[in-house]
């Protein structure tokens, strides 16, 4: 059996080039709440990027592995998500 690990512990094994200047994720709080997108993206994101703080959904974009899952489950308009700028973001050494 492998040792259980938290998501941040797992992500520590993956390489990232963090874009300090620009987040590639923007959240429409209103739409997120009214469409239930908030709960869905918090649950599906394998990198634990989304969490709820004081009734708002926040995105820790630096941990994003760019899988596209949140975008696939989000209601139209609830999330503005695009790839990080060229050269930034996750950088797999294995894949």
């Amino acid at each position: 059996m492998s040792t259980p690990m938290t998501v941040p512990e797992r992500l520590a094994r993956t390489t990232f080039t963090i874009d300090e200047e620009e987040s590639h994720i923007a959240i429409d709080q209103e739409l997120c709440r009214s469409t239930g997108t908030d709960k869905a993206i918090i649950a599906v994101c394998p990198a634990g990027v989304y969490s709820e703080q004081d009734g708002r959904v926040v995105a820790d974009y630096a941990a994003c592995v760019e899988c596209g899952t949140c975008l696939a489950v989000a209601a139209p308009g609830a999330l503005r998500w695009h790839y990080p700028r060229g050269g930034f973001g996750v950088s797999y050494r294995e894949g």
Partner: protein, 438 residues
């Protein structure tokens, strides 16, 4: 006639995955000027897959590629395991015939993709890594419909006679020009994966392989906690690729987190003997197209073709995910169509129609059709829960020698059925649907 800017390249290929790299290779080999644009710092740095590449089509392009490319192992053993919370039933198929000619190999994309892109460069394609394409450049065509004339990245514009969108399953390019609508979530899954390091000898002993041979394990049942999908466990040279693929509609419905399901999978007693002592060296995830044939729509518009997973070309048979070989096949079909269209001087949708025709004639669409009913079949939840229980129950009765006289297998199975929520009729119906779908 208005002044038309001279294109910078004959073709701009966006995305240096298998689809884009092979298309660029083929077109550059035919003498076209090709730019291959990739947002990752190097090709493959953004890409992740389970890693079993069915190699026949690539072998046609690069004969003997498995001897030259950074492949991990040649798959000679396929194991299918049905898990319940406390048992595992497996079907084990090994065949040395699978090694030569190479049927399937394991690859790690961060190592394999650069090799493939290198082949395109050798053929004369210009590789432009670290550049994210933001939008398509379009102009009104003769009939008023938008015609793709290049791409824009930041402030830079790059004009090309044809754009090949090879930008993967999340294809923003195909979406932006209306070639792919937003997918329903039952057409999408998320693959969560880790690479776990193990010594070479341990892998060979544990998985019953020698030398450069490898094993591919497909796992269904309790590993996904009843969520549509399955698990995989593939051998690399000195590591394992371990992951789950979870259908998004089911995952959302379940109320569970993807990380929780992945951890449950890693902790499953059925996996423990394989993972003991292995150390996680990388964690990642990616969306996989699951819609099968239903997801493949228009693949061409004026001045642009869509290839690989950007076009929805993935087959999930429940036990294997196939996308890389289909990506390569579509890249070849697109390249030949572009060469033909440029020679004829017609890059309108009609001029590029040779792509669709070639796709249909190739193994790509034939296999997509063969497996066309698979997604519907896989929505029958029995695959993930009750069948594992049933199989385990049958095998329990066969192997659990408790002193009572052995019964014939059929009676054992019948007894197991009577305890299982699966009815014989349902099994027959699913079995038949399965035969037709798979």
């Amino acid at each position: 006639m208005s002044e038309v800017a001279e294109p910078d390249f004959d073709v701009a290929v966006v995305g240096a995955g298998p689809a884009g790299a092979v298309a660029a290779y083929r077109m550059a080999s035919a003498g076209l000027s090709v730019v291959l644009i990739e947002r990752g710092e190097t090709p493959g740095s953004k890409n992740l897959s389970g890693g079993v590449l069915y190699g026949r089509v690539l072998d046609e392009v690069f004969p003997g590629f498995a001897d030259e490319a950074p492949v991990e192992r040649r798959i000679t053993r396929h194991v299918t395991t049905f898990l319940t919370p406390d048992s595992a039933v497996g079907i084990d198929y090994s065949g040395q015939g699978l090694a030569d000619p190479v049927n399937a190999v394991t690859v790690l994309r961060a190592k394999f993709d650069p090799w493939l892109a290198g082949k395109a460069e050798e053929a004369g394609a210009f590789l432009m890594p670290g550049v994210r394409v933001d939008t398509l450049l379009t102009e009104p065509g003769p009939d008023g419909a938008p015609r793709v004339v290049g791409v824009q990245a930041g402030d830079d514009q790059l004009r090309a006679r044809v754009v090949v969108a090879a930008d993967g399953v999340n294809s923003f390019l195909a979406r932006s020009i209306g070639l792919r609508p937003k997918e329903p979530t039952n057409h999408m899954a998320v693959g969560v994966k880790a690479v776990m390091a193990l010594p070479r000898q341990t892998i060979e002993d544990r998985f019953g392989v020698t030398g450069d041979q490898g094993a591919a394990h497909a796992i269904v049942g309790d590993c996904t906690l009843g969520i549509g999908g399955g698990g995989f466990l593939y051998t690399n040279t000195t590591s394992l690729s371990v992951g789950v693929v979870l259908r998004l509609d089911d995952l959302v419905r379940s109320g569970r987190t993807s990380a929780e399901v992945f951890e449950h999978y890693l902790q499953h007693p059925g996996l423990a003997p394989y993972l003991r002592g292995a150390e996680m060296v990388e964690y990642g995830a990616h969306v996989v197209a699951e819609g099968g044939l239903a997801m493949v729509g228009e693949v061409a518009t004026h001045g642009m073709l869509v290839v690989g997973e950007a076009a929805g070309l993935t087959i999930n048979s429940g036990l294997t995910v196939r996308g890389m070989d289909l990506a390569i096949g579509s890249g070849l079909a697109a390249a030949d169509a572009v060469v033909e269209a440029l020679a004829a001087g017609d890059v309108s949708r009609e001029g590029l129609a040779g792509y669709r025709r070639r796709l249909e004639e190739s193994f790509v669409m034939k296999d997509m059709r063969t497996y066309g009913k698979a997604p519907k079949f896989l929505e029958r939840t029995g695959m993930y829960g009750a069948y594992g229980e049933l199989a385990a129950s049958i095998f329990h009765d066969v192997f659990a020698l408790d002193g009572t006289p052995r019964r014939h297998l059929v009676q054992t199975a019948k007894a197991a059925f009577s305890r299982s929520p699966v009815t014989l009729r349902q099994l027959v119906s699913d079995g038949w649907a399965g035969v037709r779908a798979l």
